[in-house]
């Protein structure tokens, strides 16, 4: 599958779309979903920015420093993309584990900013639907509803009304039935 021994091929997932990207040799040849691109990438002298020429097409890309090792927030063309990049090897492993029922949906909700919990709308153990408001945080003088990103059961509600929370602190977890099974 990969003439270079499998180490230079990646699976990239953005908004549910999956791209297979493979780097071939040092001449800047990249295969993306079977299409060959002559790629020239230059890190800019300014923070986070890269200039890319792909078959002559010109792009400026900015990439945010990451919280998670495989996660990249890419700014391209005025849009933002959250990309998950794993090597082919990791992808095989992940697929295998998922097929075997191991692994967990991403139901752990973190505080998106520092703030104050002013209202909790649901109780631990309750069933929630995607989009339900679980709690209300105040930050920057605004009330912000924190909604359930997936449907499931509300577990480990780690905060109480009046708590001050730090950015990134886990607020609650939603466990799907497949997680429980």
């Amino acid at each position: 599958m990969n003439t270079n021994g499998g180490g230079d091929a990646y699976r990239v997932e953005i908004n549910g779309d999956v791209y297979e990207v493979e780097f071939r040799g040092k001449d800047g040849i990249v295969m993306i979903d079977g299409e060959e691109i002559q790629l020239d990438v230059r890190p800019k002298s300014v923070p986070d920015h890269y200039s890319m020429l792909g078959n002559g097409e010109s792009y400026i890309i900015a990439v945010e420093p990451r919280d998670e090792p495989n996660q990249y927030r890419v700014h391209a063309g005025g849009y933002d993309f959250d990309a998950d990049v794993i090597s082919k090897r990791e992808a095989f492993l992940r697929d295998y584990l998922r097929a075997a029922g191991v692994g967990k949906a991403e139901g752990r909700i973190k505080a998106p900013m520092p703030g104050l919990i002013i209202k909790i709308e649901m109780q631990e153990g309750e069933d929630v639907l995607q989009g339900d408001s679980v709690l209300v945080m105040e930050a920057m003088k605004m009330e912000n509803e924190i909604k359930a990103p997936i449907s499931g059961t509300l577990k480990e509600l780690n905060v109480r009304e009046g708590d001050a929370v730090e950015k990134g602190q886990i607020l609650f977890e939603i466990v799907t039935s497949s997680d429980i099974a």
Partner: protein, 504 residues
């Protein structure tokens, strides 16, 4: 003319006013909180004085400290900007009593318009159309339900002292009423220090169109055309334009006359904005009057050519308006996109952090009003607005294309922003046609739509992310195995790395 003005604000509006002062040959005095020592308004001012800790209540809302600095520095006038003390009539009065000039309307006009209920009464008397609503504040849930039953759902709960969407709730049925009342009161207390709320009939799918008015101290009142501000998220404007795509010269004349009437009715002086709701049949209703310079004032400046901030200072100095109504001519079309530090992929949640890189676009027709620079921190203490990007062109279609081009060029890292959202608005079919209302964002921008970007760019992002991962792994390995790599011939380096990866 004044020799020195104190600017009682921070961020882009403080910068805007400092620049107006500079251009008029007036010294500008900034005030700052402890975390704002490195803020842009401090750097651009002629003087800067510390007024307290980060929380606004102990600094930018502390009128006494600000007055103290004004006296110490010898400032003759105070410009409040928008937000903070700008619509605080008591402070305006204190400024006057201290022998200083308040760059804004009189305390009584601020008080009248600050109370939504009193403002309604004045407008009704002046013959300006208003939305049906409770005559005064609503205290009990029964009162609220009684009004709603009579006027018919949906109704809107609003903070009597409010503004900017804070303390607002739409109620579509009786069941929603208790929770909505609670929430609105809580926000109103937090934001304005008052639990007073009132109810209005909720106009379905209205447009939000406002008129810029200006009055001097000699009885002259003019308007400078309208601004279309229907593109809102969480009841907060995010994209504004001048003129409105649905305005006709006849309607402009009629609404402009109402706006001037509204200003006259409350004895208005200086810059003000009369906000109207316009329904699908182009009936308009007085919504409220903002007794200060508006965030979105630049679109009016670009189209009329009038510098509103300089005009405020000119009028506050007692000079007559240099323009009559006939002198105000609108040319071309301007659009503003507010760049907030928010994650538009994640329900517009405010995003705090340090701006690692920031470079706005430039070129013909592009204006940026910014309050922060590279290296600055977006903290939880203040509004998360980074800047306002404005595009002017000869016609609306060209202005939209120009804004779209500019947004694509804008580079910010370190915080997430409303730039991607702005681009989607510029490319939205309904927006391009001018066919939208205040429900635009919730109707057109389901979270799924926000995430479904141009696939061509998504592919580019995928390649870039993969390249980075690849490159980082290369680097990591290189450091780890510096010795091994060095003894390899250069041409076989890549292959060696491939093999190494297999082994780990």
């Amino acid at each position: 003319m004044f020799k020195k003005i104190l600017v009682a604000n921070r961020g882009e509006i403080a910068v805007r006013i400092i620049r107006a002062c500079r251009e008029m040959g007036i010294k500008a005095v900034a005030v700052y909180s402890e975390i704002d020592r490195e803020a842009m308004h401090v750097h651009l001012a002629d003087e800067a004085h510390l007024i307290g800790p980060a929380p606004a209540s102990e600094s930018y809302l502390s009128g006494d400290k600000i007055l103290e600095v004004a006296k110490k520095s010898g400032a003759e006038a105070i410009h409040p900007g928008y937000g903070f003390l700008s619509e605080n009539g008591d402070f305006a009065e204190k400024v006057k009593q201290a022998g200083l000039v308040w760059i804004g309307p009189s305390a009584s006009a601020i008080h009248s318009m600050g109370s939504k209920t009193e403002a309604r009464k004045i407008m009704i008397n002046a013959g300006v159309p208003v939305v049906p609503g409770t005559e005064g504040g609503v205290e009990s849930i029964e009162e609220a339900i009684a009004f709603a039953s009579q006027a018919g759902y949906p109704v809107l709960i609003k903070a009597a002292m409010g503004g900017g969407g804070k303390g607002m709730r739409v109620v579509r049925s009786q069941e929603e009423m208790p929770g909505a009342l609670d929430g609105a009161r809580r926000e109103s207390i937090n934001a304005f220090g008052s639990p007073l709320i009132y109810l209005e009939k909720y106009i379905e799918r209205p447009r939000h169109i406002e008129f810029q008015v200006f009055a001097d101290h000699h009885g002259n009142v003019i308007h400078l055309g309208e601004r279309e501000c229907s593109i809102q998220r969480r009841h907060q404007k995010v994209v504004e334009e001048c003129p409105s795509p649905v305005m006709t010269p006849e309607l402009r004349e009629k609404m402009g006359a109402s706006a001037v009437e509204a200003a006259r009715a409350c004895g208005y002086q200086n810059a003000g904005t009369v906000e109207f709701l316009v329904d699908q049949e182009m009936n308009y209703y007085f919504l409220e009057m903002n007794t200060r310079l508006q965030v979105e004032h630049p679109v009016t400046e670009m189209v009329t050519g009038v510098d509103l901030a300089q005009l405020q200072i000119h009028v506050a100095n007692g000079k007559p308006l240099p323009y009559s109504q006939e002198d105000i001519e609108m040319r071309g079309h301007a659009i503003e996109v507010r760049i907030y530090s928010e994650d538009s992929l994640n329900n517009f949640l405010p995003h705090t952090g340090r701006i690692r890189y920031l470079r706005p676009p430039d070129g013909f027709g592009i204006r940026e009003d910014s309050g922060v620079r590279e290296g600055d921190e977006i903290s939880i203490h203040y509004d998360p607005m980074i800047s306002k990007l404005i595009a002017w062109a000869g016609d609306r279609e060209s202005a939209i294309r120009r804004m779209d081009r500019a947004l694509a060029e804008y580079r910010i890292t370190g915080v997430r922003t409303t730039i991607p959202f702005g681009r989607l608005v510029m490319r939205n079919e309904s927006f391009r046609k001018g066919d939208f209302d205040t429900s635009f964002v919730e109707r057109e921008f389901e979270i799924e739509h926000l995430q479904a970007r141009e696939k061509a760019w998504q592919k580019v992002a995928a390649v870039a992310a993969a390249w980075l991962r690849h490159h980082e792994r290369g680097k990591g390995r290189h450091e780890e195995n510096a010795h091994t790599v060095q003894v390899m011939s250069e041409s076989s380096g890549w292959k060696a790395r491939g093999r190494k990866t297999e082994l780990r």
